[in-house]
Amino acid sequence: MKKNKSIDWKNYDPNDFFDELIAAKGKPRPAATAITDYLGNLGSEEIQARQQAAELAILEMGISFTIYSEGENIDRAWPFDIIPRVISLREWETIEQGLAQRLTALNMFINDIYNDQNIVKDKVIPKYVFANSKNFREQCRGFTPPLGVWAHICGSDLVRDKDGTVYVLEDNLRVPSGVSYMLENRQLTKRVFPELFDNTNILPLDDYTNQLFDMLASISPRPQDHPKIAVLTPGIFNSAYFEHSFLAQRMGAELVEGADLVVGEDDCVYMRTVEGLERVDVIYRRIDDDFLDPEEFRADSTLGVPGLMRAWRNGKVGLANAPGAGVADDKVIYAFVPDMIRYYLDEEPIIPNVPTWMCVNKQDQEYVLEHLDELVVKPANESGGYGMLVGPHSTKKQRAEFARLIKKNPRNYIAQPTLSLSVAPTLCDEGLAPRHLDLRPFVLQGVRTYVTAGGLTRVAMRKGSLVVNSSQGGGSKDTWIVDEEN
């Protein structure tokens, strides 16, 4: 239980950071006035009571994520802070366009490099950028999936710097997770602050699973009314198992594991049911390429389905995301996304990239090695915040280790300035305090493009920390897109 004395908005001080709710000490942003006024009128005991009600609801609803620790898989309650993060609709509309623009260009890029590679021929992107990526899949060369779309589901991480500028920090095009928590966070807020929804115009989120279903149905090889859709999970020990089950339930899809599926002589994919074999049309796969098909990728994979790639290439099953889509997930390729947007769409990028130094370039590498104590260094292919160096928080020994790693394998490292991530008021042990956060909106691309109204706000619960991943002590908040003009 958290102990705190009072929720004192007048004395809440975001210091030098950009605060998502407060423009300056004592001055809430226009879109956030409803929530700050409301919370200001609740006593601290009342606010604590609501936080506890939310935490109890999380246990009762079984909202959890799984972590692996000391040789055991532990089911943890989802960490949630009841104070929402608010973004004005006007600002959001621009971000939404920017995300749609980005995913459109990324998909054109993936399709291009697996086929004609025009972007290389036109010298916009050097070939080594993807040719050496471990997520570039030779098995996908010469193939174009339905609609030319490879990454159907994308989770892009957005951050806001001190001056208020929103940047794309990375694009997750393999198996981005978190959308179920975004939806559950809204459920929780509706339980905890029902009064607020009456007189604030908050954009609804609930449509996501319908949109996901429609998108998946649109890549079915048998365009009929009732495509059979399955969510392929690595199983109960995966950290996102909760989400796999949640999405299957909300879409009325089957939740399957690799062993439930079999590819027949006719190259169709079937699932083993009590009635015998039943054909599957579309698979929303939540396992990595490496484990997808032991016949073509890692032979020791017991999670995948032998023959699945064959079925996909022969057009007998839809796969989302398509195998090989992860090539654009690479942090070196990330640096070229603004160029892709200009090249394929002939538009200027709406949301900027974080400036990125690529260690594979001699000049960049020199700069990075000289400024390790200021920069964030990231491996090109990792996710979940692992294997990173945060310069200003690092020790001399860690910097020496990274210098060695960079020199040994420069292609695998990029560096970015340490952004001063924005904050929002968060309930902590010491009361209301500013905590750093990011935002992961989810983008769907099928026949058309859909962006969630907001996304999953992840917050670093420790003072001063920039690590928002739930596997490393991060929390979350509901995200409100508020139409302040209506």
Partner: protein, 312 residues
């Protein structure tokens, strides 16, 4: 429906039923133990024998006293049939089929699991044992009600029905068997306390009141055995439970082999001539044959519908 899902729903129902049965049985025996004079020395070990876990118990305990036995049946994690283990396993099965069962049902089993984590000591101790066990029974009933009332009665529900009733029939035959072993003859207290002892066997299945309604004679061993085996309308009798299994199997696809086995078990239960089973040995022999048939039925079900696991 996926074979794997069918298997998990089936086991969820079996584990739930097992937990509920254990709770009912301990409550009934507990009440009997309080009634009996101190020198009669009721054996709690009999309850352990009912669950078929006697050997495991002996590995862990030297003394089969009340505390050890109750702890074994209620709380011990190494006993896969303890109430705590059953609820944990049932929850795991629901967790992996959450897309199939109503959300409310998941929340009930999840809360039941959390309740046990917090209160299991009450079930072991004497003072609040009744409240604890009663709570378990109540929540299991609530879950069954939710499934019956809110889940489509399709193949998935039939697998639940099969699991629940097969477990119930299995448990009832074991309870009758252990009752027969302990109380049918050769025990000094039979004359004086026979009525009480057989009443408690009825109470294991919450059958005492219904027995009174149906059998207007005194409580005696053979009459109780007949009631628990063959009373068709009573929902916890072996005959009723096996008929329910057969009914559910009849609605499932590709059911020839398991259905044949089930109907055979129903026939053997119905036709068993309890009056001819005069000697204790005959009763035990009859019940053990029935248990073998129930085991066979499970194997047939698994072979027909459940996934085949390749052994590594």
């Amino acid at each position: 429906m996926l074979s794997r899902v069918a298997e998990r729903l089936y086991w969820m129902a079996r584990y739930l039923e097992r937990a509920e049965n254990n709770a009912r049985m301990i409550m009934a025996f507990n009440s009997l133990a309080l009634d009996m004079p101190r020198e009669t020395q009721l054996s709690w070990k009999g309850l352990v024998a009912v669950t078929g876990m006697g050997a495991l118990f002996d590995q862990h305990h030297q003394k089969a006293d009340e505390r050890n036995c109750v702890k074994f049946l209620v709380a011990d994690g190494y006993n896969s049939s303890s109430i705590a283990s059953c609820i944990k396993a049932a929850r795991e099965n629901v967790r992996t089929t959450r897309d199939q069962v109503p959300t409310d049902a998941w929340e009930v089993i999840n809360e039941l699991y959390r309740y046990i984590l917090e209160h299991v000591d009450q079930g072991v101790g004497k003072r609040a044992r009744y409240e604890f066990l009663n709570e378990i029974v109540g929540r299991c009933q609530m879950l069954n009600g939710l499934l019956a009332g809110c889940m489509s009665h399709d193949a998935g529900y039939d697998f639940i029905r099969v699991g629940r009733n097969l477990e119930r029939a299995d448990m009832a035959t074991r309870q009758i068997e252990v009752g027969a072993l302990q109380f049918l003859d050769g025990w000094d207290g039979t004359e004086t306390y026979g009525g009480l002892l057989w009443t408690s066997v009825l109470r294991y299945q919450s059958a005492f009141q219904m027995y009174r309604h149906n059998v207007r004679r005194k409580v005696s061993g053979p009459l109780v055995i007949r009631f628990l085996l063959q009373n068709e309308p009573f929902p916890r009798s072996v005959l009723h439970s096996l008929s329910e299994v057969a009914g559910a199997l009849g609605r499932l696809p590709r059911n020839e082999i398991p259905l044949r086995t089930a109907l055979q078990a129903v026939r053997h239960t119905r036709e068993g001539d309890v009056d001819a089973l005069i000697r204790k040995e005959d009763v035990i022999l009859f019940l053990e044959k029935l248990q073998l048939e129930i085991g066979e039925l499970h194997d047939d079900i698994a072979e027909t519908w459940f996934p085949v696991y390749e052994t590594a």
